[in-house]
C-alpha cells in the first residue's frame, strides 16, 4: 500500500473540487443573498487542505496499484461528501454538519434523499450546487478527473473500474483518458439537449438546468417542494421520463448510437431486458391503478410510467404520491428499487445485467439437476460470461443483502419505525431517494436520528461504489505495505 501516492491523488481531487465551488458563485452575487461568501470560504478551505497535501506528497511516484485505486476512490468519495458539505454548513442552510454531509453525499451519490424540509427556501446558488453534486457524481467525479487530470493516467483503469458501475466495464478507446472524455462528452451532450427541451416546456433556465442535471445523473433533487409535480405539465413529465430512461442506459451504447451504430443498442441484451422491465412495470402499475387511483387512461399512463421509470432508474423524482396507490404498486416499486439501471449508466441499484445473470445462473443450476452430465455456460449477448464474473456477482448480492439487513437492524435499534427503517436503507443503498413510510415520496429524511443519517450516508456510498470497493478497505491486510 503506497499511502503517499494515495494522498497525492486525493489532494489533487480536493483541489479540483474546490474549483467547482466557484461555479455557483456568480449566482450568489446576482441574488445578493450572501451565499457567495459561503462558497468562497468553502473553496478556500478546500484549496488550502488539498494544496497542502499535494505539496507534502508531491514527490510520490505516480503509480497506482489495485489497492491504491480502491483507497483513492472510496476515500475520495467520502471526502467529496465532507468537503462538498461546506457550502451548506457555512451558509447555515442545514441544522447540523451531519445533515450537511448527508445532503452532500446524497447529491454526489445521485441518491436524491434530502433533509431539507422547505426546499424552495434554499438560495438559488445552493440549489445549483446541489444539482452540480448530482451531475458530477452521476458520470463519476473520478472519471471526470481522469478526463481532465493527466497525472491520473497511470493506473487509471483501476480507478475507472472501481467507479463505473456494473459487473464488467467497456473501454471505448485504448487510452483510458479518451474513454473518460467520450463518456463525459455524451453525458454533457444529452444534458444540454434536455435543458433545451425543458425550456421549451416553460421552465426557466435555472429550473431546466437543475432538473436536467438531476435527471441525467439519475439523482432526484428538485427545486420544488412537490418535486416535478410542482410544474404540473404533462410535457415536462414526458421529457423527464424519456431522459431518466436514457440515463439508465449504458453510456457506451449511447456512444455507439451517436457514432452511427444505432442498432448496437437493440442487439444489447441488457438494454432489451431493461426496456422489458420498464414496460412491464408500467403496464402492471396501470392495471392496478385503473379505476382506483386514476380514471382516464391518459393520466394513468402519465403517472404510472413516470414513477416506474423514476424508481427503476433510481432517480427518485415524483409526480404522484404512490403511497396512495394500491399495495400492489407499492410492493412493485420496492422490487424495482433492487434492480436499478444498466451497467455503465448513471443509475444505481444492483444493475439490470447482474439481475439477468443471477436469474440465468439459477436457471443453469436447475438445468444441471435434470442433466447431471450436461455442460452449460451462462451467456450474455451470446457470449459466455466468465466464471469469476458470476462468482463476483454472487458475492455482490450476498454483501448487498447483508448490508441491507445490518443497516436496517441499526435503524430499528435507533428507534425508527420498521417500514421506514427498511425502506430508508433500501432507498439509500440503491441511490433512489424516496422510499416508503416515513421516507415516502412526500416526506424527507430530516426527522431521522443523527446516527441514522450517518448509517444511511454510508449506505449511499456503498451503493454508488458497488460495495466491494468500500468494504475492501476494511478487509484485514488491505493497508499492509
Amino acid at each position: 500500500m503506497n499511502l503517499k501516492v494515495t494522498f497525492k491523488v486525493l489532494g489533487a481531487l480536493i483541489l479540483f473540487l474546490s474549483c467547482a465551488f466557484l461555479l455557483p458563485v456568480p449566482l450568489g452575487v446576482v441574488d445578493a443573498d450572501g451565499t457567495h461568501w459561503a462558497l468562497l470560504m468553502a473553496a478556500l478551505v478546500g484549496a488550502l487542505a488539498g494544496g497542502t497535501v499535494l505539496y507534502v506528497c508531491g514527490d510520490a511516484k505516480p503509480e497506482l496499484g489495485h489497492r491504491e485505486g480502491f483507497a483513492v476512490v472510496t476515500l475520495g468519495w467520502a471526502l467529496f461528501g465532507i468537503v462538498g458539505a461546506l457550502p451548506y454548513y457555512f451558509a447555515e442552510a442545514t441544522p447540523t454538519f451531519i445533515d450537511a454531509v448527508f445532503e452532500s453525499l446524497s447529491g454526489f451519490t445521485t441518491t436524491g434523499a434530502t433533509i431539507l424540509t422547505d426546499i424552495e427556501a434554499l438560495p438559488r446558488s445552493l440549489h445549483l450546487w446541489r444539482a452540480l453534486t448530482h451531475w458530477m457524481g452521476g458520470m463519476g467525479i473520478i472519471v471526470l478527473s481522469l478526463a481532465i487530470l493527466p497525472m491520473l493516467g497511470v493506473g487509471g483503469m483501476q480507478l475507472f473500474k472501481a467507479e463505473v458501475p456494473g459487473p464488467t466495464t467497456d473501454r471505448l478507446s485504448p487510452r483510458i483518458q479518451d474513454t473518460a472524455k467520450l463518456l463525459w462528452g455524451v453525458y454533457v451532450g444529452l444534458t444540454a439537449v434536455e435543458i433545451v427541451l425543458l425550456m421549451f416546456g416553460g421552465m426557466d433556465w435555472f429550473d431546466a438546468t437543475c432538473h436536467a442535471f438531476a435527471t441525467m445523473a439519475t439523482g432526484g433533487f428538485s427545486t420544488k417542494n412537490a418535486s416535478v409535480a410542482g410544474f404540473n405539465s404533462a410535457y415536462i413529465d414526458y421529457v423527464i421520463t424519456l431522459f431518466m430512461f436514457l440515463a439508465g442506459v449504458n453510456f457506451a451504447l449511447h456512444y455507439a448510437w451517436l457514432a452511427g451504430k444505432p442498432l448496437r443498442m437493440f442487439k444489447n441484451e441488457e438494454f432489451r431486458w431493461y426496456t422489458i422491465i420498464a414496460v412491464a412495470a408500467t403496464l402492471i402499475l396501470m392495471i392496478a391503478n385503473w379505476g382506483t387511483a386514476y380514471d382516464t387512461i391518459g393520466e394513468n399512463f402519465r403517472y404510472s410510467i413516470f414513477q416506474a421509470v423514476s424508481i427503476l432508474t433510481t432517480t427518485g423524482f415524483g409526480t404522484a404520491d404512490y403511497e396512495l396507490w394500491p399495495y400492489l404498486c407499492q410492493v412493485l416499486l420496492v422490487l424495482l428499487m433492487f434492480i436499478g439501471g444498466s451497467a455503465g449508466s448513471t443509475g444505481g441499484g444492483a444493475k439490470v445485467s447482474r439481475m439477468v445473470l443471477i436469474v440465468k445462473h439459477a436457471t443453469v443450476q436447475m438445468w444441471r439437476l435434470i442433466h447431471p452430465r450436461g455442460v452449460r455456460r451462462v451467456k450474455l449477448d451470446g457470449r459466455a460470461v466468465p466464471e469469476e464474473v458470476l462468482q463476483s456477482i454472487l458475492g455482490f448480492f450476498a454483501l448487498y443483502l447483508a448490508v441491507i439487513g445490518i443497516a436496517s437492524l441499526v435503524m430499528g435499534g435507533l428507534g425508527v419505525e420498521p417500514v421506514t427503517a427498511v425502506a430508508s436503507v433500501i432507498a439509500s443503498i440503491g441511490n433512489i431517494g424516496p422510499g416508503l413510510g416515513g421516507v415516502g415520496p412526500t416526506d424527507n429524511y430530516a426527522h431521522l436520528p443523527q446516527l441514522g443519517k450517518v448509517v444511511l450516508s454510508f449506505c449511499m456510498l456503498m451503493g454508488r461504489l458497488e460495495i466491494f470497493t468500500v468494504l475492501a478497505l476494511w478487509y484485514p491486510g488491505f493497508w499492509r505495505r
Binding site: 442433466h371 452430465r373 450436461g374 455442460v375 452449460r376 455456460r377 451467456k379 457470449r383 459466455a384
Partner: protein, 449 residues
C-alpha cells in the same frame, strides 16, 4: 486433358482414380516413393517423385501442358506454394486443399481470389456439408438440388414391405403420369444399375429418383417411403466437424445434443453453441445417452476423431432406438461397411473432399453435379448450346450413350421430367444421370470438350 495431382494420400488417390476412369491423363506427384509406386500399381496414372513445391518436379510432371492442377497433400503450405507455382506456368485451373481456410471463410485478407487459385477446399467444410445434407432428410440417402432447387435428386432404401418390390420400371412409368418422376438408378449389392423397362425393384435396393421439388411429398407418399421431419438430433463427438454440424442444425431450430468426453471441448462448445445442449460423456456411454433421449432422436451423427468408436456409437444408437445413424470414418474401405452393419451412412472426409473437387472440375457448360453412393455414378446438369444435331428430336429417337439417362429438361419457365416424347431445345438445361465410364461419352454428346 493433362491433370496433375500433388499428393497421393486418400484424397489424391480418389481424385486421380476418378479422373483417370473418365479418360484424362493423370500425373501424380508424391514425395514418398512407396506411396507413389502403390498408386501406380493400383490405378492408371503416371507417378513423379518429388515435392509439389519444387518447380523442377512440376516441370517433370508436365506442368506446361497441364489443364487442371490439384494440390491435396496434408500440408497446407505445400498445397498453396504448389498452386502458386502452377499459376506461374499459366495452368488455367488450380485447386488447393487448405485446412486453415475454407470457401466459407470470411477473412478477406487472404482469399482464394487474392492468391490467384480457383478453388480452395477445406476438408472439414466438405465433410460437414455432406453430413448435413444426409442428416437433414430423414430416410432419404442422398439429396441434391438442381436447377436452382426446382429439381431434386433423392435416393431411398427399399424396405421389404415396400409396395415397389417386384414392380418393373415400365409399370412404374404408368405411375409417373400424375406426378412425373424418373427412376435414374438402382444400386444393388454395391453395383449401380441404370434401369431399363424390364428391370425390377427388389427389397434391399437403393433407388434414386429425379423429380420436381413440388412433387416430392406426393411421390414419396405414392411410393411408400415414410417421412418424418428431423426434429431431434444427437451429435456424438464435438470436434470441428461435430461443431459445424451442430451449429447448422441449431440454426435450423432443431433440438441438438452434442456429446463429448473432453472437459475443454465441452466448455468451448457450451460457449459457442446457443440452444444446443452439451453433454460431457463418452460417446458410447449408453446409460447417459439413453437418459438424455438418444432413443427419441431422429438422427444420430457419430463424428468423433476415432472411427472405430464412431461405428460402435452409431450401432449402439440404432440398437437403443435412434431412427437413423450416420458415422464418420477415415478409412475409405469402411464406407462400404455401412449397409451390412445396419448403419444408415458412413461419411469420409477424404471422399467428401475428393467429391467436392470433382464437382468443381465439372463446372463450365456443366452446371452442377452430385455424386451417388461413393463415386459409382453422378448426376450432372448440362446446358444445351449451339447447333447440336439432337435439337428438335424426340428422346426415344436419339441414341443416347449407355450407362446414362436423361432425367429432366429445365427451361426458364418450366420443368419437364423426361419421357420418350420429350424434345430438347437450345438454351435448355438437361439433368443427366451417368456412371463414371459414360461421362466422357455424355460430355461428347452435349459437345462439351
Amino acid at each position: 486433358m493433362r491433370v496433375i495431382v500433388v499428393g497421393a494420400g486418400e484424397v489424391g488417390y480418389h481424385t486421380a482414380h476418378r479422373l483417370s476412369i473418365e479418360g484424362h491423363e493423370v500425373v501424380v506427384v508424391e514425395a514418398d516413393r512407396r506411396r507413389l509406386s502403390e498408386i501406380e500399381e493400383r490405378i492408371n496414372v503416371m507417378g513423379v517423385e518429388g515435392s509439389g513445391a519444387h518447380a523442377e518436379t512440376l516441370e517433370a510432371a508436365g506442368v506446361r501442358s497441364c489443364g487442371l492442377f490439384i494440390a491435396v497433400t496434408d500440408i497446407d503450405e505445400v498445397n498453396i506454394v504448389a498452386c502458386l507455382l502452377a499459376r506461374e506456368y499459366n495452368v488455367p485451373t488450380k485447386i488447393a486443399r487448405v485446412k486453415a481456410m475454407g470457401s466459407g471463410s470470411t477473412n478477406p485478407l487472404l482469399s482464394a481470389h487474392k492468391l490467384g487459385i480457383e478453388m480452395i477446399i477445406n476438408p472439414l467444410d466438405a465433410v460437414a456439408q455432406d453430413i448435413v445434407n444426409i442428416a437433414a432428410h430423414s430416410s432419404a440417402l442422398e439429396i441434391a438440388e438442381f436447377a436452382d432447387g426446382r429439381i431434386l435428386f433423392v435416393g431411398y432404401p427399399v424396405a421389404e414391405d415396400n409396395p415397389l418390390c417386384g414392380v418393373t420400371i415400365s409399370e412404374l412409368g404408368d405411375l409417373g403420369v400424375v406426378y412425373p418422376f424418373v427412376m435414374t438408378a438402382i444400386t444393388r449389392n454395391g453395383a449401380t444399375i441404370i434401369p431399363r423397362g424390364e428391370d425390377t425393384v427388389e427389397a434391399g435396393d437403393h433407388v434414386f429418383l429425379l423429380l420436381r421439388k413440388d412433387d416430392h411429398p406426393s411421390v414419396r407418399y405414392m411410393l411408400g417411403f415414410e417421412h418424418e421431419h428431423v426434429k431431434r438430433m444427437m451429435v456424438l463427438g464435438g470436434g470441428d466437424i461435430g461443431y459445424r454440424v451442430a451449429r447448422h442444425f441449431e440454426k435450423n431450430k432443431l433440438r441438438v445434443t452434442v456429446v463429448d468426453p473432453d472437459d475443454a471441448t465441452c466448455d468451448r462448445l457450451a460457449e459457442q453453441l446457443d440452444s444446443a445442449m452439451v453433454l460431457k460423456a463418452p460417446i458410447i456411454d449408453v446409460a447417459t445417452l439413453t437418459s438424455e433421449g438418444i432413443g427419441l432422436s431422429d438422427v444420430v451423427v457419430a463424428v468423433s476423431g476415432d472411427e472405430e468408436r464412431n461405428i460402435l456409437a452409431a450401432l449402439l444408437a440404432k440398437k437403443n432406438g435412434a431412427s437413423r445413424a450416420l458415422c464418420l470414418v477415415d478409412t475409405p474401405d469402411y464406407v462400404s461397411l455401412a449397409p451390412s452393419l445396419g448403419i444408415d451412412a458412413c461419411v469420409s472426409p477424404r471422399l467428401s473432399t475428393a467429391n467436392a473437387i470433382l464437382k468443381y472440375v465439372r463446372r463450365g457448360d456443366i452446371l452442377s453435379v452430385a455424386t451417388v453412393e461413393e463415386n459409382q455414378a453422378e448426376v450432372i446438369e448440362f446446358l444445351v448450346s449451339g447447333e447440336m444435331p439432337f435439337i428438335g428430336k424426340k428422346l426415344k429417337d436419339l441414341s443416347f450413350p449407355t450407362g446414362a439417362i436423361i432425367g429432366a429438361i429445365v427451361t426458364d419457365e418450366r420443368i419437364e421430367i423426361a419421357s420418350g416424347d420429350t424434345v430438347m431445345h437450345e438454351g435448355d438445361r438437361v439433368v443427366v444421370f451417368a456412371v463414371p465410364e459414360s461421362i466422357v461419352a455424355v460430355e461428347a454428346f452435349f459437345g462439351v470438350a
